[in-house]
Symmetry: C2
């Protein structure tokens, strides 16, 4: 009878772990779901987490680590892991050098300030797991790593992991406006409820911190790079300070985007000239004011002299003058300036060349606490771009890699596109023998986070936040492994379903390249909102806003000639690359039309002409999405009903929009090439004029 009662109790405890009605899988819990495991797995995890031994009194960071472990263990097993002071069988020990048990050899020096080691070992005859780090932040990261191992089914009795981040600064960039709109945001309003801060602290801020800490993200720029000076006023500093208080225990520093002209707008100065003493004094005082409220403030992110933003060039100065002035103001406090290299101004020839042209000559002149933040490619977050020529070209300047997590150009939050392979592609690209990951000191991702219940607008877009964070921590991770662990934590651990989901995700990035901009094409999207195809647009004020500027399709062929015969952008690359990219034969086919203008009958490796290959790739993209839909439909039994229905609806939209992209682009390029469709190819569903006539007045993401 006692056994029966115990079983009943266990079964009911299992029930108690199920989400409450109404709190069904809505995506809010991200990859930190900690749902009840199957019986065997439950026991396996519970055995390894019977108690948690940690220092007392615990710092807020250590408290966060312990609370997360307790929450995770309770969720997965239904059993509580109590805090303890003595280790016993199945204990989890959180140790720093100050309280490490004698006789246990731990690789402290390899762990640095943020790293951790997880190790299963015997201690006084007791089987325990040690989570070791030099700091409480390292313990927090180690705790999340242990929970990740538990959720993904690792053998917790034989752990021997160590990890330390390769890059010191791993930041999210929020393009969130102070009115709560989000530029290029597709997940509702900003999560920062500026109006109610600092008095009201949404519980969501804590969950945001937990999610980021679980990935090792250690900084967040709260406001849009297209900044309002208001973000530097006292009321907004108080609001940022309130957020900093919430994020601090999770190892996350707060940064702000700074408007270069703020000394005029806020300080009443006549100029924002970076060499003007009054301007320098204003920034110094402003930095002091900020650090008064936020002692660990990260620093400023600056978009200057780009797309109409003010900057040092307004006063005949250069980026070094501007960045170093801000760096000086921050340096006494240990702050950093992230100065963006994404610059373009009208009529400078090839837009792809401008960042290099402006920044490369400044190498070696920036102050020590300036980091130049460079987008992955030279245009603007396209589905595929060759790596940016600045990587490897500024050896004396710390660089940051800027990636876009929000899918401005890749179908918003509606299209399932896993960006892991895109991030991996640039991190592993070798500008000069070493990968990009080794050329940068920092990494920044433009966030895809909003107030939608599922944070990112769609369930699969959570994977892009996750992949950014994981690859920021360790750029050597394979994006396929990252996809796998995300799936296991987010959807299911059933092996067949995991395989299928990972396959879908990995196929998805190439699919979007194919159905939007194959073979190195770029910037073909609709004006301003960037939704849908508009390769025909040729009437915008500035030449380099028009898709026709980028594809240069005509009767004679298609593509942007960036060889020495054209804009000679290839010369911005290291000599090996420059030589390789100067000839179509040696240019990676996926980048072909980025660098070359080629005739429609140019023969490709497939044996097809360029025209036939172009159409074939568009078709392949659509077919891949159709295939993703079928795969998803087949997974119905493996996924909870709500998320299955949500994703199915998104995939239906994606397939329709992939066809639209394909049809509109094929119709347009055919009208230009004058060539018949390759044999056996489906004609576009509508006339070119019909595609041209479409308008999207309320597309999201255009900001305030």
């Amino acid at each position: 009878m006692k056994t029966w009662a115990k079983r009943l109790a266990a079964a009911l405890l299992g029930m108690a772990l199920l989400p409450a009605w109404g709190a069904v899988e809505d995506g809010y819990d991200l990859w930190l779901r900690y749902r009840g495991l199957a019986m065997v797995a439950q026991a396996r995890v519970a055995t390894q987490a019977r108690s948690i031994v940690h220092a007392e009194p615990a710092s807020p960071t250590l408290q966060a680590a312990v609370a997360e472990l307790k929450r995770g263990v309770a969720g997965m097993t239904g059993k509580e892991a109590a805090s303890a002071t003595q280790s016993a069988d199945g204990a989890l020990l959180l140790v720093t050098p100050a309280n490490a048990p004698k006789g246990v050899d731990l690789p402290w020096s390899e762990l640095g300030r943020e790293g951790y080691a997880l190790r299963s070992l015997k201690l006084g005859g007791r089987a325990v797991t040690v989570i070791a780090a030099n700091t409480d932040t390292g313990l927090l990261y180690g705790s999340f790593a242990w929970l990740r191992a538990a959720q993904t089914g690792a053998d917790l009795s034989r752990l021997d992991l160590r990890a330390a981040p390769k890059l010191g600064l791993r930041l999210l960039n929020h393009w969130d406006n102070l009115d709560r709109t989000v530029e290029r945001g597709y997940a509702g309003a900003s999560i920062w409820d500026w109006w109610k801060l600092p008095d009201l602290r949404d519980v969501r801020y804590v969950d945001y911190a937990r999610a980021n800490a679980s990935l090792g993200i250690n900084g967040t720029v709260l406001n849009n790079v297209n900044a309002k000076a208001d973000s530097l006023t006292a009321p907004f500093i108080a609001k940022a300070a309130a957020l900093a208080e919430v994020l601090r225990p999770y190892g996350i520093k707060v940064w702000l985007s700074a408007r270069f002209s703020a000394p005029k707008e806020l300080g009443g100065l006549k100029t924002a000239d970076p060499l003007d003493p009054a301007v320098r004094a204003w920034w110094k005082a402003k930095a002091d004011e900020i650090y008064q409220s936020i002692p660990d403030f990260g620093g400023f992110l600056v978009k200057a002299n780009s797309e109409g933003q003010p900057g040092p060039q307004d006063y005949g100065r250069n980026h070094v003058d501007g960045a170093n002035m801000l760096a000086e103001a921050l340096s006494a406090h240990g702050g950093v300036v992230m100065w963006r290299a994404f610059v373009y101004a009208p009529d400078t020839g090839d837009r792809a060349k401008q960042a290099f042209a402006e920044f490369q000559p400044l190498d070696g002149q920036f102050a020590a606490n300036v980091i130049v933040q460079v987008k992955n490619g030279a245009i603007d977050f396209q589905p595929r771009e060759p790596f940016h020529p600045l990587f490897g070209a500024m050896p004396k300047t710390p660089l940051a890699l800027e990636l876009q997590i929000t899918k401005e150009y890749l179908g918003f939050s509606t299209h399932l596109v896993y960006l892991g392979p895109l991030f991996e592609e640039v991190l592993r690209a070798q500008p000069d023998g070493a990968p990009v990951a080794q050329h940068v000191k920092a990494i920044a991702g433009v966030a895809n986070i909003g107030s939608d219940r599922n944070w990112s607008g769609s369930h699969f877009d959570q994977a892009n936040w996750y992949a950014f964070g994981r690859l920021a921590w360790n750029p050597e991770l394979a994006s396929s492994d990252v996809a796998r662990e995300w799936v296991q934590q987010t959807f299911t651990t059933a092996p067949r379903a995991v395989d299928s989901l990972v396959a879908m995700m990995l196929a998805s990035r190439e699919a979007v390249v194919d159905y939007m901009t194959p073979l190195g094409l770029h910037h073909l999207m609709g004006t301003a909102h960037h939704h849908g195809p508009a390769p025909w647009v040729d009437d915008l004020e500035r030449a380099d806003w028009n898709p026709v500027y980028f594809h240069r399709a005509g009767r004679d062929g298609i593509g942007f000639d960036r060889t020495p015969r054209g804009s000679n952008a290839v010369a911005q690359y290291a000599p090996d690359w420059a030589a390789r990219l100067a000839r179509p034969e040696t240019t990676p086919e996926d980048w072909l039309l980025w660098f070359h203008h080629l005739p429609w009958d140019y023969p490709l490796r497939s044996g097809r002409t360029l025209w036939a290959e172009l159409v074939a790739r568009y078709d392949r993209g659509v077919a891949t999405v159709a295939d993703m839909r079928s795969q998803w439909a087949a997974l119905k039994a493996d996924i909870d009903p709500q998320r299955h229905a949500d994703v199915a609806a998104y995939l239906a939209v994606q397939e329709a929009e992939a066809r639209w992209w394909r049809d509109a682009c094929v119709a347009y390029f055919q009208s230009v090439s004058g060539l018949p469709l390759p044999a056996g190819t489906r004609a576009p569903a509508h006339s070119l004029d019909e595609y041209k006539a479409q308008r999207f007045n309320f597309a999201p993401g255009r900001g305030g």
Copy 2:
């Protein structure tokens, strides 16, 4: 042992009913929380809901009723109420005339199309509860009424209720823009994710429908009265149709705000003149198109010739011409035009007079399916306004009462102000012997709903949505009773705590009047955003945008003379009222300065001078908020920690802002009156100039 096991099982079942971790009381469930009751209450409810007997096959509406009952019973008792075909002891019977048991006498004719009766009775010796209605919508309303009775601790074994709505149309008006901003919205972005509709149907839409159906709200205008023509395009009609499909089972019709100039903007016509045959044909075709997709479309809400919106006066026509044209287009389909009487144009003398002046002479000329929608007062949703003079003045025209649930002028979602007493005040006002509630055929509330997790931006603002709905259903309800049942469903049923919460809520409306605009003052708030005090503003383009226009304070006194010596707005009221309002002695003191300009030493009933009374009321408002804070603090043990902390933070803001209102207004009026502060009165904390210097660039709610 068996007993022990049973007890364990029961205890664990109890646990299973607790909300999952992370899904703690965040306010999402509104008043439909159905949390586990205490043991005795659980048994009492379970005994009365052992099974649910209903017709098969059930309509979607009946399915919704049954699902809600099951959800509620499972939540409150942990026991499932299964569907059954035969009644047994403890059955809930959902019956219409088609399946009513023989021999039970039910008041069918009194129930109408939407009403219901709940009755405990014996049927063949079995104790059952009958939920009776003529339609499935009535059964749904009856089911919610039963659940409300269960949640508020009514004796479910002796039910004998009947209810039918007094007003046929009970609508929410969403001032939601197509870009997902919300004009005067203080709860985040619009819940309508237009961009993803019609493909994606947020689960939240169903919960929105449930909440409204629980109150009997039977229509919703989806978009802002400051309308874009785009809302009438085919893509947006498809989006509205998707929402209509979700809402239809819950008895809720979809309506749209229509832009009067749409025939020009969408139809390419040269005019929107309502007498132009092409314009009439365009609207006719547009109505037909809408009804093709939404067969039960409610109709159009129109803001015309007001605040810059286009309208019939642009073509020398009047409101009748405009409204009747639209009415004609809708009439074949049973649609209705809600034509707003909120009009004001520059330089027409007393702004309070304009709606009456334009509309009253048109009485009797509107088509049968036009309803003129009149705000509760003649200015604009101030903390207190005298009832609108149009009520009772257009006996041949169906009127709707427009109330504002969102607190544009009452502290946004940050201040705790229960609007039940405000709604009650206007519903019970007697323009000519009968209350306003009897002068209207419809009621509309400007929604306070957004995508914030708690729907309304703060927990207590949910009460205003609730109170609107309950009073719309039955304008004779006491707002205190409505507060009580809301508290019982939303927070706690503990009697002492309920009493305290109800007292707070009832005090809150008078408090906001006191600390913002006592004694009939109005329109003293900050420009455009309407946040905070700004009685000094006198430089806005239009006279009637300036607070000084409304309070007219000077050395000689304060108040707007609307007697025959002044603007004579009092003449718009019925003779008894006109006579009463023409003299300060017979004017309700709470409206005094709305109608009269009086010297600072005018004696009031309190024995104080006007100046002393004004300051005393400001002080009383602040004191009441301080008292609300103490009351709330004392309730800590009765409220879940998250909501207690949230509300405590809001109340701290409210007290600070109440002081700010009081101090800024007292400082300003003192600067005008030149009088010393009454003895013993605290001086304002800051100088008048400091109050004047404040700016709020990113105040929410200004829309797109």
